[in-house]
Amino acid sequence: MKILTGNDLKTGQVVWWDGQGWSLHVEDAVDAGDKADAIIAREEAECRVNGAYAIDGEKTVDGVRPAHIKDRIRALGPTVRPDLTLKPADPSAGNWVI
């Protein structure tokens, strides 16, 4: 599947296209299919996202996961600071990243 990601224009937070808007959680990402370019163009023009791009993702039992390590790290947070990731209380939250 093709999923869309970028950063929130104002805050810089990593966001994922969930079909209606942008979510902080990669699990919410939906398949953008062949509409990726159109969605990105529209959302950037409306200043709802910054630096958006499409990547390969896959649906797993735990939710959607980006294919490439870079976007897996983006999805959760720095591997060297678990306390600063999206799931600081869950020590195994990053098991799928690397």
Binding site: N7, L9, K10, T11, G12, Q13, V14, E44, A45, E46, C47, N50, G51, A67, H68, I69, K70, I73, R74, G77, P78, T79, V80, R81, L84
Partner: protein, 544 residues
């Protein structure tokens, strides 16, 4: 240290207003990110993996306690409680909101700081010897010239769009602590036979994907002509550099393509032109700036004795303390490389502690080093124990300066959008592997430098042992390099052979280090042994 006058303050304040306006236009949608990007970069604001990142300039690596407390305040208020000291003596914050960036700049301006030209295709923050003004081996404090260069190169209209970034370093000692010849342009103050001081000028160095060690293009330049000479270099480059391939636009490529002699000829021709235009600051301006760098009021009659009865303290003194030019004083290096931690990272609380120590024990001065450590430049020897105790309690008492665990590492794929592989976990694992203090001491000076991509922010080309992270079919892979150096005998590290995975690179480093231990001759550092036996002396041990 230098203090802004009304003009400097007005310029920095104007830049805050300028950036506030640019940010507003971006947030209102009047600019695309393509248009905004070069503007924000010229003010040190990147869009990184997790958020915006702001790089704050620390001119020639010098700052005071008030500035350090402001950096702590920014870390706590606008970021997530910490900052990261970089390999160019700057500090960067990883979790900045675009909408906060103008306010952060306004806060910085209240303590005479800014983020001007800390990124983008511009003349970057000037780096310098972190021991400037304190080192026992320096000719004169080089920072007044660094400050003059800072002023001249701030918002320099002709060089608004250089082909690429341009990095300048200035030192005034035989010992090169600033990786001089890895800079686009490097200046070393020397004394000639007539006893006059002037600059030895190097040009065309740089790391990145095409590393070059700078050529010496001038043996002796009168100090009062440096601004003309620099402009000549910049114009020759700006006019001649190709613009068709961003990877070939650094000045090192031009110097290489024109050849050292032709480059020098063109610079000298343009130099005569600039001299005639009267571009150099007058002596009175040098004197005005130099007065701010007058030595602090060192006490006399101080004891040279250091009580070494506490072995942990003695170990720290041996490793972290360097010779000062004033009797009874010492230079204290603060390690930002506690074993297992992130190289260069420091919490807001630690910043405040270091600020307190600077204020109380070091004439209110601090330095940042390109090796991502900090320095208290002027500490009385009798205060060393108190300083160590406070550092130790704050988790900053590591005694590993220039040892195997004092690793330079770029932020890598944990933070950086350009990276191909993570650097920090590799640094952490190597440090943990070599954590034993006696083993470190036995191995002696050994500089490991790790970059997470070919841009080489982690200086892997200059590492006695260098590590370069690459992306091999979607997985992290690490190349091992040996024999680099950033000191006065600069050399470029060479790749050993095929790369390793993360666990494999730690083992490979250990095999190289053990090989050194087996074959070293008395008094030889790792680098000396490598230079004597070459790659062949290590290859088999590494690959079996």
């Amino acid at each position: 240290m230098y203090k802004y006058d009304q003009y400097d303050q007005a310029m920095v304040s104007a830049r805050v207003a300028d950036f506030r306006d640019q940010t507003r236009r971006r947030l209102e949608g009047k600019m695309t990110d393509d248009q905004f990007k070069p503007l924000r970069l010229k003010n040190g604001l990147y869009l990184q993996l997790h958020a915006y990142m702001l790089r704050v300039a620390i001119p020639y690596g010098t700052l005071n306690s008030r500035q350090m407390r402001k950096l702590a305040h920014i870390a706590r208020t606008y970021d997530r409680g910490y900052g990261h000291f970089t390999t160019r003596q700057n500090i960067q914050y990883n979790w900045i909101k675009l909408e906060d960036a103008p306010d952060i700049l306004a806060e910085l301006a209240t303590v005479e700081m800014h983020a001007i030209q800390t990124s983008g295709e511009s003349i970057r923050n000037i780096s310098a010897d972190q021991y400037a003004g304190a080192a026992a081996d320096e000719i004169i404090d080089p920072r007044p010239w660094a400050e003059m260069i800072r002023q001249m190169t701030t918002f320099m209209p002709e060089f608004s769009y250089l082909p690429r970034k341009f990095k300048i370093a200035v030192i005034a000692a035989e010992t090169d602590r600033a990786a001089l010849r890895w800079h686009d342009c490097a200046l070393r103050i020397v004394r000639n036979e007539a006893g006059k001081i002037g600059f030895e000028v190097f040009a065309g160095g740089g790391m990145g994907r095409t590393p070059f060690i700078a050529y010496k293009i001038r043996d002796f330049l009168p100090t009062g002509q440096i601004l003309s000479y620099l402009q000549a270099i910049l114009r020759v480059w700006n006019r001649n550099a190709r613009r068709d391939n961003i990877h070939k636009q650094r000045m090192k490529i031009l110097v290489h393509e024109l050849g050292e002699d032709e480059f020098r000829r063109q610079v000298e021709e343009e130099f005569q032109h600039f001299l005639a235009l009267g571009e150099d600051f007058p002596q009175a301006e040098y004197d005005r700036i130099a007065a701010y760098f007058a030595p602090p009021p060192f006490e006399t009659g101080l004891s040279e004795e250091i009580d070494r009865s506490d072995p942990d303290f003695a170990l720290w003194v041996d490793q972290q303390v360097a010779a000062h030019k004033a009797p009874g004083y010492a230079i204290v290096n603060i390690s930002l490389k506690p074993i297992g931690q992130i190289p260069g990272d420091i919490s807001a609380e630690q910043m405040e502690l270091v600020a307190d120590l600077a204020e109380r024990y070091s004439f209110d001065e601090l330095r940042a080093t390109h090796a991502q450590n900090l320095v208290l430049p002027h500490v009385r020897k009798e205060d060393l124990h108190a300083v160590w105790t406070a550092l130790h309690e704050a988790g900053l008492g590591e005694a590993n300066l220039d040892l195997v665990t004092d690793i330079i590492a770029c932020p890598g794929l944990d933070y950086c959008s350009l990276a191909n592989a993570r650097s920090i976990p590799v640094a952490q694992k190597i440090a943990e592997r070599f954590a034993d203090a006696e083993r470190q001491k036995d191995l002696g000076e050994l500089k490991i430098k790790i970059s997470g991509c070919i841009n080489a922010c982690g200086h892997h080309h200059a590492g006695h042992i260098g590590i370069l992270g690459v992306d091999r079919k979607g997985t992290e892979n690490y190349q091992l390099l040996l024999g680099g150096s950033g000191d006065e005998e600069t050399s470029q590290a060479k790749i050993t052979g095929p790369g390793f995975d993360e666990a494999g690179i730690v083992d490979a480093v250990e095999r190289a280090v053990e090989r050194y231990r087996e074959i070293r001759e008395p008094g030889e550092r790792f680098l000396d042994t490598y230079r004597r036996v070459g790659m062949d002396g290590f290859k088999e041990a590494i690959y079996g």
